[in-house]
Symmetry: C2
Subunit: 96 residues, 2 copies
Amino acid sequence: MIEQLSEAERADALDGLPEWDYDEGRDAIGRSFSFNSFSEAFAFMTQVALLAEKADHHPEWSNVYNRVDIVLTTHDAGGLSTRDIELAGQIDDLVD
Amino acid sequence: MIEQLSEAERADALDGLPEWDYDEGRDAIGRSFSFNSFSEAFAFMTQVALLAEKADHHPEWSNVYNRVDIVLTTHDAGGLSTRDIELAGQIDDLVD
C-alpha cells in the first residue's frame, strides 16, 4: 500500500523539487520541458518512459512539438506519494 | 504552403477515417487508443513519433498509462490539411 504524503512530508519533498509546480486541487506536481526539436523532446520522453516502467509508476503527460508537460500523482494513494517525488527527481536528473 | 481542406475535401477525407472524431471548433481530428499496458502504449507512441518525424508533421498528444489520445491539425494551414489526413491514415495502419 502506498501512502499519500502528509503536509509536512510534501513540503519537505517539494523543497527538493523547485522546478515542479504543486497542484493543490489534484495533490499532484507538474513540470513543463522545452527542447530544440520534436526529436529531442521525444528522446526525453523515451528516457522518462523507461524510468517510469522500471518504477512501475507512470506519468500523465502530453507533448506538442518541442514541449513536454508532465504531471505526477499516485492514483492508488489519492495524491502525492514518495513514488512521485522519486520519479520527479529522476526526471530532473535527465535534464538539469 | 499547406492549404486548409475545403469543406468538401474534409468530408471526403473523414469518410476514410471513421475512427477519428472531428472537432469543428479547432478544425482538428482526434482519436483515442487503448492498449494492454503502458509498455504497449509507449511502443505505439514510438511508432507514431517516427512517422511524424518522417512526415515533419507532429501530433498534439497525451498519454495516461495504457491510453493515448492524439489530435491532429495543421497550425500553418489554420486547420485540417492533407498532412493530417495522411498521418491519421498511417497511424490507423499501425493498429487496425
